[in-house]
């Protein structure tokens, strides 16, 4: 089929609204597709169905009380969102965080990252029509949720990292269970590789789909595994180190092709690196307090601008705070990765087959509440 010849002929196009209720948009995202046969000639994502005004809410309550809201933006990376926000307020008010708390934050955040990648792994393969891997991924993920539930009290929308530390110290049980989980997941990786990553059908579905280049990434602000899939080793944990990440030895997995397969492999290898970080953090875990001794109840933020960036599972998460000297932020701007990542699909997916659009969108690992927030 000559795709270019049909480019102008818009009368014959078949407009398909994919979503807001559609199995592969993973939430309330709508994509308006203009189809020529099975080819999607033009796509435009329509967002905003789940908009909850988080940024506006932040201007109306004390900065400390906004912490639970951060978890509701990216429900799969809640702890990392917690961490970024806690760091922002600590930066603004100059509160020192005990070393042990930093370690706990890193351990729990990395567990959270693995959990997010596992869910993406299962859900993405479900998009591609493989029903079984999601159950295996969830089986592993369940262990993380159990471990985190014991220490944080919740299973999805955590509010565990607080200004000045973490809300509850971890105990030996947490440490042993986490170590057991590391061994378990390590032993499962070969199975995933055999069963899924090496499958011919899967490779045919992913190779050359939704190709990104560093140029496109720079123009749209794409970060995270998608950017690393194009060969740029940009990871906030390395490029602008925060918390205690400089103390660990880990790699930034990269691929060069920038297609769906590249980001697929990058995410898969990131889980292994996260396991390495957790293992080292557990080995080095210092004794001490898990919460700074003096955190004022009413947290007055000195007037000024503050910024804090962390590496969320889907890319760079930034909080930008403008304070006017009170305990309520004057303005809080949140930069979430999926929003930028989604913006690329009109450019990368035009002229692709419908199945490839699904595959390319799945490889973005979208979390819709994070786009809408």
């Amino acid at each position: 089929m000559n795709v270019e010849a049909l480019e102008d002929d818009r009368h014959h196009r078949f407009v398909l609204n994919m979503g807001p209720q559609h199995p592969s948009t993973h939430g309330v995202l709508r994509v308006v597709l203009e189809l020529e046969g099975e080819y999607a000639m033009h796509l435009s994502p329509v967002i905003g169905y789940g908009h909850r005004c988080h940024e506006k809410i932040a201007e109306h309550k004390p900065a400390k009380s906004f912490m639970p809201n951060t978890a509701r933006m990216d429900y799969l990376g809640a702890l990392i969102y917690n961490q970024g926000y806690a760091q922002l307020l600590e930066k603004a008010t100059g509160i020192e965080v005990p070393l042990r708390a930093e370690y706990i934050r890193v351990i729990t955040s990395e567990l959270n990252r693995i959990q997010s990648h596992l869910l993406w792994y299962g859900a993405y393969l479900l998009d591609l029509g493989a029903f079984t891997p999601i159950m295996y991924a969830f089986d592993d993920r369940e262990h993380i949720l159990d471990i985190l539930e014991d220490v944080t009290g919740s299973r999805l929308t955590y509010c565990y990292h607080r200004v000045g530390g973490v809300s509850k110290d971890i105990d030996d049980k947490f440490v042993t269970r986490t170590r057991e989980f590391i061994d378990r997941l390590r032993s499962r990786f070969p199975m995933y590789e055999d069963l899924v990553n090496g499958n011919v059908i899967l490779q045919n579905r992913l190779l050359d789909v939704g190709e990104l280049t560093p140029n496109i990434c720079a123009r749209y602000g794409v970060t995270g595994p998608l950017l690393r899939g194009t060969g740029v080793a940009y990871d906030i944990r390395r490029s602008e180190p925060y918390s205690v990440y400089p103390e660990f030895d880990f790699e930034i997995p990269t691929e060069t092709k920038g297609d769906a397969m590249a980001s697929f492999l990058v995410r898969f290898r990131e889980m292994e690196q996260s396991l390495r970080i957790i293992e080292q953090a557990l080995d080095k875990l210092p004794e001490g307090l898990s919460m700074a001794a003096k955190v004022p109840k009413k947290l007055k933020i000195p007037a000024g601008d503050y910024n804090s960036s962390v590496e969320a599972p889907r890319g760079e998460l930034s909080y930008y705070l403008v304070a006017d000297g009170s305990d309520v932020p004057y303005r809080l701007k949140i930069r979430t990765p999926s929003y930028s990542n989604l913006s690329t699909i009109p450019e990368t997916c035009s002229g692709m087959l419908l199945s490839d659009v699904v595959s390319a969108m799945g490889s973005l690992d979208l979390v819709i509440p994070e786009i809408d927030r």
Partner: protein, 328 residues
Amino acid sequence: METLHSILPELIRIIVCGICGAVIVFGNALVMGYAERKLAGHIMLRPGPMEVGWHGILQLVLDGLKLMGKQLVVPKMADKPLYMFAPLLAFAPVFVPLLLIPFSDKLQGFDLDVGMLVILAFASINVLAILIGGWSSNNKYSLLGAFRSVSQNIAYEIPMLLSLLAVVFMTNTFSLREIAAAQSPVWFVVVQPLAFLIYIVSMIAETNRAPFDLPEAESELTAGFHTEYSGMSFSLFVLGEYANMFIVCSVATVFFLGGSSGIPLPYFEYTGAVWFLLKVYALMFFLVWIRWTYPRTRFDQLMNFCWKYLIPFSLVNLLITVVVVKLI
């Protein structure tokens, strides 16, 4: 009176066979529906249906009752007569092939000289049903699913037919009973391994099952051609799908796995059906296993695979068969 006397046995035979066919269709749907859910469960590390009866054995009966009680929703602007007709058309033709399948030496409705052609002809009516269903539902997903299904089924009928023709050339007959009987020393799967492989692949595509379930690819097309169908009209499609699975597996058994041949049992003319059904259900198990293991192929890759590999290979296989048969 004379003519009545001569056609009466035939009439009785047709009625009995029809009833048996219905029993097979519904029984097979119950068994396969349950087996599929249970197997899928165990492949996915979960128990599958457990609540209704011992290990959920009555689940399918209750599901059937539930589906019968459901409202038949007809979408606005749908082409109502065609919309209601499509599920019937998907379901009704499965009875004819069932009459022709030789379950054992004696257990066969009719043995036609053109048995194979009749089976393939009736199996392809399903495509028309899907096209009508997808077209008349007035739903874009259904339409896309129907288009996919038609192009897929038409493409895959060719290698299917060609692989079966290889066997026909060896046996010089279209009659299913004679083909099954011709395999008394060795099964044709040994003589014609390539034809068997091609047949299995086209059989999966023909029944629209994963990894070739593009017409109902739920992550792309929600439920494909039966998106809008509910209640009994939906379950007729499902019944038709399971019956079609049974038919294509039976054809594979007749053509490649020796029909009802096996270790002799008492009254083997009848009890051979045990071996026949065992082979059929082994193939069905294979279908289920494949479905819950592999991801879905992409539409153009599926078509390329058919036109670029399966058809040339089955033609070459056919040619070799012809030459070898001629020489011997």
